[in-house]
Amino acid sequence: MHELTLVEGIRTIVEDHARTQHFARVLVLRLEIGRFAGVEKQALHFAWDEGMRGSPAAGAVLEIIDLPGQAMCIDCDQVVQIDDRFDPCPLCGGERLLPQGGDEMRIKNMEVV
């Protein structure tokens, strides 16, 4: 979707932390991205190098951790894990599922010097 905007958001958070936690450079940055977050990982990697140039995270390795998709099944009233947005409920086969998690876009941690 708007991967460059996301990279800019990450950059702001990195710069804030660099100031308050006193580090010069980020070596590795780990993101947690939910399956339903609508983030195109390839596009995020593509925007990464350009978007981080001149920041403490320039040249840093971007690691993306996938988080599973979660949904509430209206038919059997259970929270279930699903891989695809349109998968039926793995418990009852119902097709009325409300996504409940999996839209996360979070910086988990950073290795810094």
Binding site: T5, L6, F86, L98, R106, M110, E111, V112
Partner: protein, 266 residues
């Protein structure tokens, strides 16, 4: 002499005596110089450290959106984020809605990449409107809306309509501080649109199925639209209407008035 610790010119690396310069040139760790990125080791400290961040990437946007929501709720303003594809008829629907609401106080924030055409159309109805041009941006964000609220100063108990950039992808991820997203889906767009762009229809509380007067001309199956909307969002409310003929406008106006009344009661 080494500038880090002031030691001599020769260093011992394993069995070898090397000059400081050679030890660095060959990348060999020797007493105070580590092999890590800092090229320096200090007793008791490792060179890289792990910082737990656990912060949402859009946390800055979300914080501003929360502040917007706080301000608007305090004023009892019902704020709706209107989202759709380009060309679904958002602005036409808004103009008709404003006219139909008569004297009810309201204001409009218009988002487009370029031009002030939409805000001009809204102002022609007599309603105050602010145009935001996002330039290259594909969505409105909470900061833009905060600035617009500051300029518009919505009245207590009024409606605030935010017409987002026509785009069914990006605006889904950006909270603006609204009470609800209203997705506008015109019947010329294809019954499978909710399946193709599920995020937006999942995020919306209400879907307006518009241009229903055109349905017979393009063989649109309205119940298939509704089934697909419910497939991606089982709890979505759906209203059918035509801005052109006015069919279904009453139900939409009743929805608006009920939401505004509920907002005032909180």
């Amino acid at each position: 002499m080494c500038s880090v610790c002031g030691c001599g010119d020769t260093v011992r690396v394993g069995d070898l005596d090397l000059s400081h310069a050679d030890a660095h040139r060959f990348g060999l760790a020797h007493h105070h110089h580590g092999l890590g990125p800092a090229g320096l080791s200090v007793p008791g400290l490792t060179q890289s450290r792990l910082i737990e961040v656990e912060t949402a990437i859009l946390s800055k946007n979300d914080a501003i959106a929360t502040e917007n929501r706080h301000i608007l709720t305090a004023l009892g303003v019902l704020t709706l984020n209107l989202v759709s594809s380009p060309g679904s008829g958002k602005t036409t629907l808004l103009c008709k809605t404003i006219t139909a609401l008569g004297d009810a106080p309201l204001a409009v924030i218009e988002g487009d990449q370029q031009t002030s055409h939409d805000a001009d159309r809204i102002r022609a109805t007599g309603a105050p409107a602010i145009q935001i041009n996002t330039g290259k941006g594909c969505h409105l964000d909470a900061q833009m809306v905060a600035a617009a609220i500051n300029d518009l100063r919505p009245r207590t108990g009024s409606y605030l309509f935010i017409e987002n950039v026509g785009n069914l992808v990006c605006p889904a991820a950006f909270d603006l501080g609204e009470d609800a997203k209203v997705a506008i889906l015109s019947v010329t767009e294809g019954e499978d649109k909710p399946l193709k762009y599920p995020d937006m229809f999942t995020a919306a509380s209400l879907a307006l199925l518009t241009k229903t007067d055109l349905a017979p001309h393009c063989d649109a199956d309205l119940s298939a639209y509704e089934a697909n909307l419910r497939r991606v969002n089982p709890t979505i409310e759906i209203l059918r209407l035509s801005s052109r003929t006015g069919d279904g406008m009453d139900a939409w106006l009743a929805w608006l008035r009920a939401r505004l009344a509920a907002k005032g009661a909180t």
